[in-house]
């Protein structure tokens, strides 16, 4: 595994945001060709540490950091990401940093040019014209091929599904020759399991070529599978730094949270009442870029947790987005027997539907506003809650006290790590932002809740918490839940029935107890003999099955 002197050594790094300490005396080393798995709970400081390594401006803007970072034995202190790139560090951020109006090719190749030289527009433009398009495309295609995935080199980023965006970013980073150290902050969070497998293989190949890799993930099995060494962060400090030998997922999880985590699968037979059909969808089509739906039909029963799975790009995400009116849609949707007009977000919300979007930074959050606003806004607008009368009812103001109380409740309920309800949403770590999105939907007290990728980017402890909260919500309030997720295991552990989407339609519906292989067959487009009457429902056979 490379030479003996470390490529990277992080020495006594500490960082606080206005007095809130998020990293304390962090030390670790990394050799060339080594893969370091960095794990920790939401808000443990992983992203912050990587931002320090990469010279991100937020760090300097919030007062810099203490301690040092040595690359190849020399102390470095990058003034900007460009310096870090010059020094051979590549980074795939937890949040995308692609240019939406550019194609896959342009993003992969152009950014690389920009990294080499200057960022000056004039220079940039010159280089553009000096490059010929065919060569650019060739380079991009070879990078994509190296990843081993299928990406359209001419697709615009703004029209891509999230999984493709992730691969585009990774392709951009691995395509740079100089890269010595590659940092990946939760690269697999938005990928399906098979896509993630491809990525892990690629990373191993890169490491064998001598590139050192820091890999951050909440999918601990990936870390166990891939990493040479594992560093566990808890509350900003390194609690474990050990070679990956005989380490189990359970071990890591307990180091992360500082107590042992039970990997139980709660039995779902807990006296819930599943009633009659509440939501009926027939021939739904949705024009959502990258996730088109074409003729999906299914029905959901009152009080049930209905799962929707499938590979990325097949349309599972399009279903809730279409029903909630966020993308152009058509077909028949009825809720409690009444038709839900499509393409009308307000009516959908007023009918008692709510949605936790998979795109939390784009659609889910008001990043520049406080948590209070984020949690209570939709309920205020749709249901007139959290307003108080002024001047004898003439005018109604925001009831900030009530908003604060509500937010505080959810902060406690969902264990959201923040400095308080007034903190800005953008200052929260990725996983905690996800919890805020859930809180927003819960605050609506909906009759039916769509949750799209609810556990994307959140740690093991929090994942259980979120899934339990969803289940509890379902049980206590009888809220019907439709959960869309890329993680089959998650769907199987929570849902009463799981539908698999393939090519824009429902390929089949299975009970959670069905064999994983059966799900796999549905996903691959083959309809197995067993899939049909789902969850022992006699009317399940009526579900439209597409050829």
């Amino acid at each position: 595994m490379g030479q003996d002197s470390p490529l990277l050594s992080v020495e006594h790094v500490s960082k606080d945001f206005y007095g809130n300490v998020v990293l304390e005396d962090v030390c670790f080393q990394l050799r060339a060709g080594e893969i370091l798995g960095l794990v920790g709970e939401n808000g443990a400081g992983k992203t912050t540490l990587m931002r320090i390594l990469f010279g991100m401006p937020v760090i300097a803007e919030t007062g810099g950091y203490k301690g040092g970072v040595c690359l190849d034995g020399e102390e470095v202190r990058f003034a900007s990401p460009f310096d870090a790139l010059d020094a051979g560090i590549g980074m795939v951020h937890q949040e995308f940093s692609l240019i939406p109006g550019f194609t896959t090719t342009e993003n992969i190749v152009l950014n690389r040019e920009a990294m080499r030289g200057s960022v000056l527009n004039a220079v940039f433009g010159e280089r553009m014209s000096a490059l010929d398009r065919a060569a650019m495309k060739g380079k991009a295609e070879s990078a994509i091929a190296r990843l081993g995935v299928k990406l359209d080199p001419d697709m615009l980023v703004s029209e891509m599904p999230v999984g493709h965006k992730e691969f585009t970013e990774i392709a951009r980073e691995i395509n740079r020759e100089k890269t010595k150290l590659l940092v990946l902050d939760e690269p697999t969070a938005v990928l399906t399991e098979s896509e993630a497998d491809i990525l892990l293989k690629t990373l191993r190949k890169l490491a064998d070529q001598g590139i050192a890799i820091i890999f951050i993930s909440h999918r601990l099995h990936e870390v166990v599978e891939l990493a040479d060494r594992i560093v566990v962060l808890r509350d900003g400090g390194v609690v474990k730094d050990l070679p990956n030998e005989g380490v189990s997922v359970r071990d890591i999880a307990s180091w992360m949270v500082g107590r042992s985590v039970a990997a139980d699968r709660a039995a779902s037979a807990d006296g819930r009442r599943i009633g009659d059909e509440i939501l009926k969808v027939e021939g739904l089509w949705v024009d959502m870029p990258g996730e088109p739906v074409d003729g999906a039909s299914f029905s959901v029963r009152q009080g049930e947790i209905f799962g929707i799975g499938g590979l990325a790009g097949q349309g599972k995400l399009g279903i809730p987005n279409g029903i909630m009116g966020l993308y152009p849609a058509g077909g028949e949707v009825s809720f409690r027997g009444k038709t839900v007009p499509l393409n009308a977000p307000r009516t959908a919300l007023e009918t008692g539907l709510a949605f936790v979007s998979e795109d939390r930074r784009g659609v889910g959050l008001l990043l520049d506003e406080s948590l209070e606003w984020n949690v209570s806004f939709t309920a205020m607008q749709i249901q007139g809650k959290y307003l108080k009368s002024i001047l004898g009812g003439l005018v109604r103001y925001r009831d900030e006290a009530a908003m604060r109380k509500l937010t505080q409740e959810y902060i406690e309920l969902l264990d959201i790590k923040c400095t308080g309800p007034e903190q800005k949403a953008k200052q929260l770590s990725g996983g905690n932002q996800q919890k805020i999105c859930l809180a927003k939907a819960f605050a609506l007290k909906p009759d039916l809740l769509f949750v799209s990728e609810p556990t994307r980017g959140i740690d093991v402890g929090a994942k259980k918490l979120v899934l339990d909260t969803i289940k509890r919500y379902n049980r206590d309030y009888g809220t019907t839940i439709v959960m869309v997720s890329s993680e089959l295991e998650e769907l199987r552990s929570v849902c009463d029935r799981v539908a698999i989407v393939d090519e824009g339609g429902i390929a089949g519906i299975l009970p959670p107890t069905a064999e994983p292989a059966e799900f796999g067959l549905l996903m691959s487009g083959v309809s197995p003999t067993g899939a049909g009457p789902a969850g022992g429902e006699p009317d399940g056979a009526k579900e439209a099955r597409r050829a």
């Binding site: 206005y18 909630m324 966020l326 977000p345 307000r346 009516t347 959908a348 919300l349 007023e350 949605f355 979007s357 784009g362 659609v363 889910g364 959050l365 008001l366 990043l367 520049d368 506003e369 606003w373 806004f377 939709t378 205020m380 607008q381 749709i382 007139g384 307003l387 002024i390 005018v395 109604r396 103001y397 925001r398």
Partner: protein, 347 residues
């Protein structure tokens, strides 16, 4: 001293520097023969005249339409209201409030159209707004000539047709607000209490509006339109609401300005006014997508203070009249500085 440094950083270096500069000017003034009470009266007057214009920037900034470079549209509505009120022979408080009432329908209609246009050009609002402002002022240059007004104090003496470039409001509503409860101290110090109270009332109403459900929605639309849409709001509607309010405040603003300044200025005059308001709110610490009442008050005070004090002190010190040049350099310099610093929309 990290605490002091942090406080200053939050307040913003540019504001601190301008504030210190202003203090220096006040300290310097008596030495070059500029009376302090005179200066103070001037600054307060100009603050009173301009605060509503600056306030007019707030709703559109909050809704994500950016800085209202097309404020001239509202100013035109206000001018129409003022002229109509004069034509009808209204005077005093009735003249002033009558003018606001008469200006309102114009402001609302123009605002609706302007809002609709801005909704079609999302992302380019500020450029288009600037064109709208210029075009409307030019169009009105023709209209002022051909509109059939007949009050002899308002039309050209010769020919008996077309409105004058400057019309005295002495007989209409001059000083309606300024003289209300005016505080006179000594020979020179005059505090235009009424105007300041009226400004405060407008600011209070705006503050209140931003706390209502609609106001909250407007802010959310500016913060993240996709979020707002997913929350069931019509993004275009909220943006239009903000544009109408801004245009209406432009109309009120020009009337407040006139009653204090003493003249209506037609033709090319409304062209430059939006820039001063833009500069003031930027100095006040607003960004292109967030503005507060504090930004308005601080910005108006700092900008108008600078604009009043710099020329008078420099003129007195250098014994030449460079006031116009200095004024132009200061105000445009600030706009350029502020725009280069603040146009990065955080998203």
């Amino acid at each position: 001293m990290p605490d002091l440094k942090q406080t200053v950083a939050e307040f913003g270096w540019p504001r601190v520097i301008i504030f210190l500069f202003l203090v220096a000017l006040f300290v310097l003034a008596p030495f070059v023969g500029v009376r302090l009470d005179d200066s103070l009266t001037n600054v307060l007057n100009r603050f009173g005249q301009n605060a509503v214009f600056v306030l007019a920037m707030v709703p559109m900034i909050q809704s994500g339409c950016g800085l209202n470079f097309g404020l001239s549209l509202g100013i035109i509505a206000g001018l129409l209201g003022g002229i109509l009120s004069g034509q009808l022979g209204l005077a005093g408080a009735a003249g002033f409030f009558g003018a606001i009432a008469l200006a309102s329908p114009f402001a609302v209609l123009l605002g609706l159209g302007y809002g609709k246009l801005l909704n079609k050009v999302k992302g380019e609002e500020m450029t288009i707004a600037m064109y709208v402002g210029f075009a409307s002022v030019m169009f009105m240059c023709i209209m002022w000539l051909v509109l059939p007004f007949s009050n002899p104090t308002m039309i050209w003496g010769y020919g008996g047709k077309g409105l004058r470039t400057t019309i005295s409001v002495e007989k209409f509503y001059r000083g309606v607000l300024n003289n209300f409860l005016m505080i006179k101290a000594g020979e020179h110090l005059r505090i235009p209490t009424g105007t300041l109270l009226f400004d405060a009332l407008c600011a209070y109403l705006m503050w209140g509006f931003l706390k209502t459900r609609t106001g909250t929605a407007v802010t959310a639309v500016g913060s993240n339109p996709d979020y707002a849409r997913a929350s069931g709001l019509s993004v275009d509607r909220m943006r239009t609401v903000s544009v109408v309010i801004s245009t209406f405040l432009g109309a009120v603003g020009i009337l407040v300005y006139q009653q204090s300044y003493g003249f209506m200025q037609l033709y090319g005059a409304p062209l430059q006014m939006p820039f001063a308001a833009v500069a003031a709110i930027l100095i006040g610490g607003a960004s292109v997508n967030k503005a507060s009442m504090l930004n308005v008050i601080l910005g108006t005070f700092l900008f108008q203070g600078l604009l009043t004090m710099t020329p008078s002190v420099i003129n007195a010190a250098l014994q030449t009249d460079m006031s116009e040049v200095v004024r132009l350099i200061v105000s445009n310099g600030i706009i350029v500085y502020a725009l280069t610093r603040k146009t990065r929309v955080a998203k």
